[in-house]
């Protein structure tokens, strides 16, 4: 879509700084990430193979498969488009206008991510039991996933140099044209990354669709698992999900161009003058309030209703604080691991772009589009055979989370690294610093906001994960999500509600830190 900004061809600088060789650490990290991601994919293929051609054909050529395919694709298209519009709009309002209380909005707009899908679905159905089908699914999923676009785009907007836009305006472009040709171009990789995450998350979604009776491929896969105990059929159907996500990944790659949007240096990079909203203040505030009210208010409201209404007692021997501590520990560990894996994967794909590094990066997105049950069973099968002492250990659970949510970390890291010029690193090398020193003193400070975004996103998703947690947690360990599930599955909504409320609260912490980091100027940036 956009032509890459190629650095002047200066061969001896490249050769001298060793940019063409894979740095050892990056290569090792990339290989480790690829190996982890291949675990569930291998399981999928091996299991599906057991089904044999005739059964596979019977499974995949049923007429209902066409319905499932159509349901899945039209949902993914509509939701992704809506999330893009809402996410960019909200990000622009928060980052670029004189919106009242923008700090508050910056946190509130992220929080819907901290509400687990089963709570969202439950909240909506308790308001309107008749809610079901395509439109209900589109609405519920858009409201819970738009932050995946909002977050990276807001992060990118906060770091776009206002000077470029002003130059465009001074050259005669109208405000809309300047936005389209300059601003949007700068946030384009972040926007595409966010849309990709939305599409992948939709492919894997189950809980909300089960509640609103909308049948997608993943719903069908769960049926095979839950009623047929048929792993083979479930894995065969999951292959279709892999194909769909390959299509999404290819499309994103085509639209993204080379993913480079850096300029020569951070230099006199400064924040744009906030646009005065004037008479648009009220509609803008109203729109944001409606968005947050629907996305956060409905599920949280139904929780409060049940906390007040329900009369159920708690289970013996369970502690909400212990569950919260486990959730926070696992989430922090998974977020750290996923971020640590995302850095080399992204660095290779951006700085050492070739077919192999790009393949590794694309591969890393696939597990997010698979039902959590498939990924978890893949790990069960692998550890049972090859790493039994690790079976149902905290480590295995954290690794599973990292595999599932690696794409979230990659998108976070990618948008920051894409904005960072490699010339700065080369300059560091040419001044005699060792690669590790350059990494610590040049690269790390520049991509720190991206790392924080990656950490926070993975943290929030891990805190609400249920399927893999139930299968892989150490025996006897409860998290907020498992306890919420245990209570609701025995009707104890009153007892369950505090666990869901705490899940939202735990997710609010990274959301808050993230919004502060994004709206606060990074070091080296000037504000006016």
């Amino acid at each position: 879509m956009f032509a890459p900004i190629e650095p002047p061809a200066n061969r001896w600088v490249q050769a001298w700084s060793g940019r063409r060789r894979w740095p050892l650490v990056s290569a090792a990290g990339g290989i480790a990430a690829a190996a982890l991601v291949l675990l569930p994919l291998t399981f999928l293929v091996v299991e599906a193979q057991h089904s044999g051609w005739s059964e596979l054909r019977h499974l995949l050529l049923r007429h209902s498969v066409a319905v499932l395919l159509w349901n899945t694709v039209r949902l993914a298209l509509a939701c992704t488009l809506l999330c893009a519009v809402l996410g960019v709009g909200a990000a622009w309002l928060v980052e670029r206008t004189a919106l009242p209380a923008r700090r508050l909005w910056a946190v509130a707009l992220v929080l819907p991510l901290g509400v687990p899908d089963f709570v969202v679905g439950f909240g909506w159905v308790s308001i309107d039991p008749a809610l079901h089908g395509y439109l209900a699914a589109v609405m519920i999923m858009t409201l819970s996933l738009y932050p995946l676009v909002y977050l990276p785009v807001a992060g990118a907007l906060a770091h776009v140099d206002a000077g470029l836009e002003e130059a465009a305006r001074s050259l005669g472009l109208g405000p809309w044209q300047a936005f389209r040709k300059v601003t949007l171009r700068q946030v384009w990789p972040a926007l595409l990354g966010g849309c990709l995450l939305v599409a992948l998350a939709l492919l894997a979604e189950y809980g909300a669709f089960e509640i609103v009776q909308y049948r997608t491929f993943t719903v069908e896969i769960f049926t095979e698992f839950k009623l047929g105990f048929d792993t083979v059929a479930a894995c065969a159907l999951s292959l279709v999900l892999v194909l769909l996500s390959v299509a999404a990944l290819g499309g994103e790659l085509k639209l993204a161009g080379t993913g480079r949007s850096w300029r020569a240096g951070p230099g006199a990079h400064r924040r744009a003058t906030p646009v005065a909203l004037g008479r648009w203040s009220a509609p803008a505030l109203g729109g944001l309030a409606a968005l947050v009210g629907l996305a956060l208010g409905v599920p949280v409201g139904s929780l409060i209703y049940w906390m007040a209404r329900g009369s159920s007692t708690t289970l013996p021997g369970t502690s909400i604080l212990a569950a919260a501590a486990h959730t926070a520990e696992y989430s922090a560990a998974a977020a750290a691991l996923a971020t640590a894996l995302a850095v080399p994967v992204t660095a290779l794909a951006i700085r050492h772009r070739n077919r192999l590094t790009l393949l590794i990066e694309r591969l890393a997105y696939l597990p997010m589009a698979l039902p959590g049950l498939v990924v978890a069973l893949g790990l069960v099968s692998f550890t049972e055979h090859y790493a039994f002492p690790l079976y149902q250990s905290s480590l295995e659970l954290v690794v599973a989370y990292a595999i599932l949510f690696l794409p979230l970390a990659i998108v976070g890291v990618r948008s920051a690294m894409g904005r960072t010029s490699p010339h700065l690193e080369e300059m560091g090398r040419s001044l005699g610093c060792r690669p590790a020193t350059v990494w610590r003193r040049v690269t790390l400070p520049l991509i720190a906001p991206g790392l924080a975004a990656a950490f926070a996103l993975v943290f929030i998703f891990t805190a609400t994960e249920l399927t893999a947690t139930l299968l892989l947690r150490p025996t006897g360990v409860n998290t907020l999500a498992t306890q919420f599930w245990a209570y609701t599955s025995e009707f104890s909504y009153g007892a369950a509600a505090p666990y869901a409320a705490l899940m939202v609260a735990v997710s609010a912490v990274p959301a808050y830190l993230l919004s502060r980091r994004m709206t606060a100027p990074a070091r080296g940036e000037q504000t006016r």
């Binding site: 209902s64 159905v125 039991p129 079901h132 089960e210 509640i211 009776q213 069908e220 049926t223 698992f225 839950k226 009623l227 047929g228 105990f229 792993t231 209404r309 329900g310 009369s311 159920s312 289970l315 013996p316 021997g317 520990e329 922090a332 560990a333 977020a335 750290a336 691991l337 640590a340 049950l373 069960v380 099968s381 049972e384 039994f388 690790l390 079976y391 149902q392 250990s393 905290s394 480590l395 295995e396 954290v398 790390l444 720190a448 924080a452 950490f455 139930l470 299968l471 150490p474 025996t475 006897g476 245990a486 609701t488 599955s489 025995e490 009707f491 104890s492 909504y493 009153g494 980091r517």
Partner: protein
């Protein structure tokens, strides 16, 4: 910057801590591991009573019973599970067919009427619930209620019925109708149901929506209604239960069962746990656990408020005859209900 570095460092330390923690495995020699698909509250009460009586520690791993079954199938011969305790029998049948269950001790099987046990003796029935029709008392009068579940496929119920096609409680009804009246009748019934009904994700939602008046009648097992009443209080109930005529395929008993895994290295302790489940103490614990299930051992009464088990005359289709429910599932898939 230093802030986020500190954050990263502490997260790495947590990682390292987890890694170390992972190596110090937990299960002591006398302990057994229970994979629990039954409601947690009931299981917690049972485990506490068992540990007190036998001093054998039980590590409980709760989850969705079908996911646990899929997990056990993947784990195969090295499964950490010693005992599997489930809400329904088709999951146990699925494991039995794959040769993953050990025979249950004869004395344990003898404690429960044999029609509620596995025909091959590979699992034991522990407690039961009965399939009923829940109706909204302000929308439907007792005289309008059907004596047979087959009537619900008739046009007069159009738009009034709610049920959960993906619940494990639903396939046994299809299987029972197929057994008693043939596959054609079952398929015809299912088509009628599809036309008449609003579909819900689970039985909890079915009973709640009938109670709200969103649907007039719903297919559930009796205990969902009692649990909703326990949560909401008697005053908030706008619904009641209707039992089908004796011998009707709708008047079906669903059994919760337990089994010992063949791969278990604690066979004796695991068998002891099963024996406890069907013992008088175990069965009374179930009756008093607010799960509102019927204990299956003769002479142990159900929770107050329930119609006595002896007064039910369920249809003569045993849980073992219900099998793994694959045919019923295929029929639902064929009609596009799943």
């Amino acid at each position: 910057m230093s802030h986020s570095k500190r954050l990263l460092l502490s997260a790495l330390l947590v990682c390292a801590g987890l890694l170390l923690g992972a190596c110090g495995g937990s299960s002591g020699s006398g302990a057994i591991t229970l994979y629990n698909g039954q409601h947690e509250q009931t299981t917690a009460a049972l485990v506490a009573a068992f540990e007190k009586q036998t001093h054998i520690k039980v590590n409980v791993r709760s989850g969705d019973e079908a996911e646990l079954a899929d997990q056990i199938i993947q784990e195969g011969s090295s499964s950490p599970a010693d005992v599997f305790y489930t809400e329904n029998t088709p999951v146990l049948e699925a494991l039995r067919e794959r040769g993953l269950l050990a025979p249950v001790a004869a004395s344990t099987l003898a404690a429960i009427p044999s029609r509620y046990d596995s025909t091959q003796g590979d699992w034991v029935g522990v407690s039961a619930r009965v399939s009923v029709l829940v109706y909204n008392t302000s929308q439907v009068g007792p005289s309008q209620l059907p004596s047979s579940i087959l009537e619900l496929a008739e046009p007069k119920w159009k738009g009034k019925l709610g049920f959960a096609p993906s619940e494990t409680d639903f396939q046994p009804l299809i299987t029972a109708i197929t057994k008693l009246d043939g596959a054609a009748t079952a398929e015809h019934w299912l088509r009628g149901l599809e036309t008449n009904s609003r579909l819900y994700p689970d039985n909890e939602t079915v009973v709640a929506q009938v109670n709200n008046g969103e649907s007039a009648v719903g297919l559930i097992n009796h205990y969902y209604w009692f649990r909703l009443q326990a949560e909401l209080g008697h005053g908030a109930m706008h619904s009641a239960l209707h039992y089908y005529a004796p011998g009707d395929p709708g008047d079906l008993v669903n059994v919760s069962g337990a089994a010992v895994l063949k791969s278990s290295s604690h066979q004796a302790a695991a068998q002891e746990f099963l024996a406890f489940l069907v013992s008088r103490t175990g069965q009374e614990t179930i009756a008093h656990s607010h799960s509102y299930e019927y204990p299956l051992r003769a002479g142990v009464g159900a929770a107050p408020g329930l119609r006595p088990f002896a007064d039910l005359h369920p249809v003569a289709v045993t849980p073992a005859e219900l099998g793994d429910g694959k045919a019923a599932l295929a029929m639902e898939q064929k009609l596009g209900l799943l």
